[in-house]
């Protein structure tokens, strides 16, 4: 399941809902991304996430479908927020549940790595040195490249 929303989410409730009644699940791995108060030496007052409505949902659904093709998942979830967020606020939640923990770890890791390089979101940082659009990080491309099948 995927959701793109302005509002915050309740991690415990999302995990509960995703796993309720599914007794084949041995492990659930979650990733929560938060707004940090520092970036490249500048102090962050807030960041604003812009996205491409429509394409975002299509891309996230495709990324989730790919994870389900690669690993035997009992359940999966991506929630990504947009709008203005302050340090400490949640940006993204990725969940993967599987009978076995290795599959859950790999799928969750894959989901966030691919999301970062494929989902059409852009971050504008509001820092003590002014506003700045975040540049893509080559490390994220490298992280995503691990999952490209040879």
């Amino acid at each position: 399941m995927i959701r793109v929303q302005r509002d915050d989410f309740d991690v415990g409730a999302e995990i509960e809902r995703l796993t309720a009644g599914k007794h084949d699940i041995g492990g659930v791995v979650s990733f929560i991304g938060l707004v940090r108060d520092l970036a490249g030496g500048a102090s962050i007052k807030a960041m604003t996430l812009e996205h491409y409505p429509g394409m975002t949902e299509t891309q996230l659904a495709e990324i989730e479908a790919e994870a389900n093709r690669r690993w035997p998942l009992s359940a999966s979830l991506i929630i990504h927020r947009y709008g203005r967020l302050e340090p400490g606020e949640r940006i993204v939640l990725v969940l993967a549940a599987s009978p076995h923990r290795e599959a859950a770890f790999e799928a969750c890791h894959f989901l966030i790595d691919w999301l970062k390089t494929k989902a059409p979101f852009w971050k504008l940082e509001d820092t003590d040195k002014g506003e700045k659009w975040v540049a893509a990080d080559a490390r994220d491309d490298a992280a995503a490249a691990r999952w490209v099948k040879g």
Partner: protein
């Protein structure tokens, strides 16, 4: 043809959305970007370095040789930066 701009491409172009009618010679993404550059100094500035410009046609990522037609929704944006740190 509907063009959408996001992030700093939007601010440099000065508009989130444009309806354009490129000349008949514009048949693919590369041609479209070359033509868009001529529309204003802001456009020229936005498309100066195409290595940091990505394009989606009808919400799908495409390469510069992808065809464009009058009914397409073309989105132009920098490399994405979602997720967290």
């Amino acid at each position: 043809m509907k063009i959408l701009y996001f992030a700093w491409l939007r601010t440099r172009v000065g508009s989130a959305e444009e309806d354009v009618t490129p000349p008949a010679g514009v048949r693919d993404v590369r041609g479209l970007l070359d033509w868009l550059k001529t529309r204003s100094p802001g456009h020229a500035e936005a498309f100066k370095d195409l290595s940091v410009v990505r394009v989606a046609v009808n919400q799908t990522y495409v390469q510069p040789d992808h065809p464009v037609t009058a009914d397409d929704e073309i989105a132009i944006f920098p490399p994405v930066t979602g997720g967290s740190s």
